[in-house]
Symmetry: C2
Subunit: 142 residues, 2 copies
């Protein structure tokens, strides 16, 4: 049914819950699996006055370390793990197209709290995607 | 992975494309399958001056005939085919909860043309659902 699944993760703890769903869907479909996380760019001024240099570089490095742990748990080769910097929606959809993804999986909190962020990402993906999207409802309190 | 799938259909021709996806997902998961279509209520004035009586009743009857055809194609018992009248989002989510649905499948056109309607329904379902939602991207021009 699906040949290439792209799991868009925000690298929060909820990811553990999502990993189970992603694993189950991969097992059902025997699809290839890739992972993507997007670091949103910071406003265009320098943090050097705080003594922090290249904060985006640090964020990218940390994101790559985190996502590779998830990749290991899913047995995914590093070449199929993507960390991008830019607007979340645009970057996820670009990775989806570049990799020939036919199903994007992402989490959604509904409308409270952090959900405003996650919900809007899920929503943006849903509206822009050229492929199917599975939105996994995260448990309350997660 | 899923025990009960609810296919929310708008009963357009696209449904044929969606039926294939729904069938594939049911086969993969061995889930129970239900169907729902919602007729939006008409504005609260009478069409009697046009010689049309009980137009909502007619819409419901026609919707039930159409959806039962889809139900037959999927081998679904009539007791698992729902036609409701009311706000689309509320009614779909209520049927989902009443039936213990853990995956809602719906179509999405993206953002052009008819999509404004379909997109907003998919969107509303996505934000209100207490279960996972699979949004199937309909082919361009469908």
């Amino acid at each position: 049914m699906y040949k290439h699944i792209l799991f868009a993760t925000d690298l929060t703890e909820d990811t553990e819950y999502l990993l189970e769903k992603v694993r189950a869907m991969r097992n059902l479909t025997n699809a290839k699996l890739s992972l993507v996380h997007v670091v949103e760019p910071l406003p265009g001024y320098s943090y050097a006055y705080l003594g922090i240099e290249d904060i985006e570089g640090q964020l990218l490095t940390e994101a790559r370390q985190s996502i590779e742990k998830f990749g290991d748990k899913l047995g995914i080769d590093k070449s199929n793990v993507f960390v991008e910097i830019g607007p979340t929606k645009t970057k996820i959809l670009k990775v989806a197209e570049d990799t020939g993804t036919d199903l994007i999986i992402c989490g959604s909190h509904g409308r409270h709290g952090l959900s405003l962020l996650l919900g809007s990402t899920a929503n943006a993906i849903l509206h822009g995607a050229k492929c199917d999207v599975l939105t996994v409802r995260l448990p309350e309190g997660a």
